[in-house]
Symmetry: D2
Subunit: 258 residues, 4 copies
């Protein structure tokens, strides 16, 4: 049976990335509190294709994914990328893994416990010049508007926001630590389960801690700057404004290596 | 060239709805302030298929849509449905038209003007027993939690919510009237453009007007009950809670004909 | 601390459904091949609210969810609904649980094994007149157009489609059985991993088995009609047409109790 | 009334981008065939914020948008960015405008006419080092697999795909020209309305013109390379595989200035 993909291509155009996109797969990731956590990921896997080959072999990506899905984490992402390069005879490989991750939180007054979802992404690339790993963490928070609070006789508009932090690092870091750092940088953190005494607490805490999206990115940014394992980061903050039908947004990038 | 769709089917299974889904098309709708408004819709069009036909003729739906896209509204939806029935030789026809609709709003203190988006849907069906029309209107609002306000020393959590009203009616009604009715039934309405004096106004108005999702559906429901043109309605209210990562939700249905 | 929700409401409007929406939570479901499967769900939970109460107690839904998330399935959905009714002092309760579910499939020629995702939903309600359970299964398939095949000298347009089956049943049924029934009713089933010999097989199988969306709903419908455990069903088939930028769609509903 | 945003910030952290996100607004864009086209856009607008200011003035973005929404195009995007810089006292400004755009197409045999939707994005930035404009065009196409065609006795799997082209240019180019270039580079183009003779034509054309995602990006890439107005481009091709539940994907970037 002919191998069409292996035919020679004469257009002389190398392809930067080719592969499979939006595969859904159960995966097991590292969990600081419980050892491991089972979740469900959306995954993209690509390699480069030299100009003289007509096509790549898409089924081999799925084979690599099957080999590693029981353990995908920041520590072995390099192994997966190396396996992709080898299996596909490629010079570079890329993987993107997006998944929900749950942490058990304790309500501030009642101590009631519940799980909260965070959206995590691993983005890894390997090529001749080495390995590049990025981890992204999306953290839901409460923000309360300082302007609204200052100018109003009573109350202040507040809303859910989401803070998206992406980091490059020189030593392993726990996503739990990034999440904690972000939750301590907003007007208040959010919970799935709050009893009445907790609701009083978070309402008053947010009111006493007003922050613009600008304040949130600055707070998070200032703290990430002091984490020695992190060598590069971006921080995005988006507020789903309660007084508008659009979002307020702020973004900061910092490369400590420069 | 053979007409496969017109072949006889022997499985003896009639099909309730068959047609085209998720067609995107520019349309022109009625606008009370400006006569007409051009927008872009997502459209589904279906007819029934008797058990003895193998298939319907999908291209004819697009032809009907082309004929009517310059004027789609609650007044001529029956004509479109009749055209579908005739063109497809069917006994029943269904159409669903979802589109963004913009209304110019005036900020409460500064008078600054800006457009706000509402998501509208027309749902029409016709069959042997007559015509059935439903219009749906999604209205973004601000809600402020009565419990949080009552128990907290200062402030109260608030958030963006969306109220979804669906109505059946015996006489034509303007979607502008439904939108207004909803906006007057929340803690405060939302705007795209608010200057500082407006922000003070909406913050204080919401604080003085705390409402649960339950209160919102009851307020809207009570008012819809008094609109004589409306003979049936549902009201959904969803709050994108600022202290949680999930929504609070309430729903009421009422058929005045019963 | 005052219980605002327990206050008396004088508007005399009962609320059909009130609760929490779009909670994300890890759950464990039944898996015929492996006993159980861990996955991540989006969940809605509602109860009714009598006219004289101002509000419901949202945190109690999360408490019930926490109690049952280690085992949510068609057999114990009634227990969860009863727990909701009791915990919320309600007359009716509703739960909607949507989750991805994975089944290991074997490629038709090579025997290569890989996981495929199916989207499942449980919808349960309980009230004075009893329990109502619906299970929904979304199955991706290949469809190949009979008209295109018949009129063309070579080839035939084909595409990915999705078949959505909802059933009510009088005895427990496995979702694996519904999935299998659907996969045998399309031009061909889909796989995550196909080697070259498999690709030849599925291409030729689909070409030899052309089906409109109308054919797919009729095939599935005819088979569901013969499953004695099933007492009511709907079948939707949607083709993401390869020659258009919109979908072809068909829908059938049957209540065997009538 | 105090201007909280104008207060001095002492954290010494400048913000790269701050502004409004996901505003929905009707806009009027250039249309080669008809002069102008009215559509509905999702818009993001950001400026930089020097380290010594606490916050930006979000309402001013909406004011600029209102001024320009009657005419947003590649020729005046610089004016909008300059207006943002001036109105917000900023050194840099960014705008992202995403909208559906419709072109009337003629079926290949019957000559039947219908509108097809393309998703367009303008991305503009201005700062000290000048103006940067990117236009993105998403074009739906049909692709037919060369491997499946070669190895199968009859038929070949095919599917809808989408090609996303982003370009930087030194002279104005029409998006209509980019769309045409892409539609001529796939197995076949797609249409909203095809009569039977057209369906035969597109089926046979795709069968005679098999292309991998790799072939599509190479074809488009080779042609963009020869368009003198274009100085940089990326091409993404994604196939919604009819035999899988995931996509095949390829990506090429080229900077002609290097």
């Amino acid at each position: 049976m002919e191998d069409v993909q292996n035919q020679t291509d004469h257009r002389n155009i190398p392809i930067d990335k080719v592969g499979v996109k939006d595969i859904r797969h159960p995966i097991t990731v590292l969990d600081r509190a419980n050892g491991v956590q089972k979740t469900v990921a959306s995954i993209n896997m690509y390699v480069n294709l030299p100009h003289h080959y007509k096509g790549t072999h898409m089924s081999r990506f799925i084979e690599v994914l099957s080999d590693y899905s029981d353990n995908i984490n920041l520590r072995n992402l390099k192994d997966i990328l190396e396996a992709m390069k080898k299996r596909l005879n490629a010079h570079s490989a890329h993987i993107e893994v997006d998944f929900p991750y749950f942490i058990k939180k304790t309500a501030p007054v009642s101590g009631a416990r519940s799980l909260l979802e965070y959206n995590i992404a691993y983005r890894g690339s390997i090529n001749g010049s080495g390995l590049d790993l990025v981890v992204e963490v999306k953290v839901p928070v409460t923000t309360l508007c300082p302007c609204s609070q200052m100018i109003s006789d009573q109350g202040a508009h507040n809303q859910r926001g989401v803070v998206n932090v992406a980091v490059r690092f020189k030593e392993f870091i726990w996503i739990e630590d990034i999440i904690r750092l972000v939750e301590e940088s907003a007007s208040c953190e959010v919970f799935s389960l709050l009893k009445r005494q907790d609701e009083k607490y978070v309402t008053e805490k947010a009111y006493g801690n007003p922050m613009f999206v600008e304040d949130v990115v600055r707070e998070v940014s200032g703290k990430l700057d002091k984490v020695p394992e992190i060598i590069w980061f971006t921080v995005e903050s988006e507020n789903f404004e309660s007084i508008h039908n659009h979002s307020a947004y702020a973004y900061v990038e910092k490369d400590k290596r420069k």
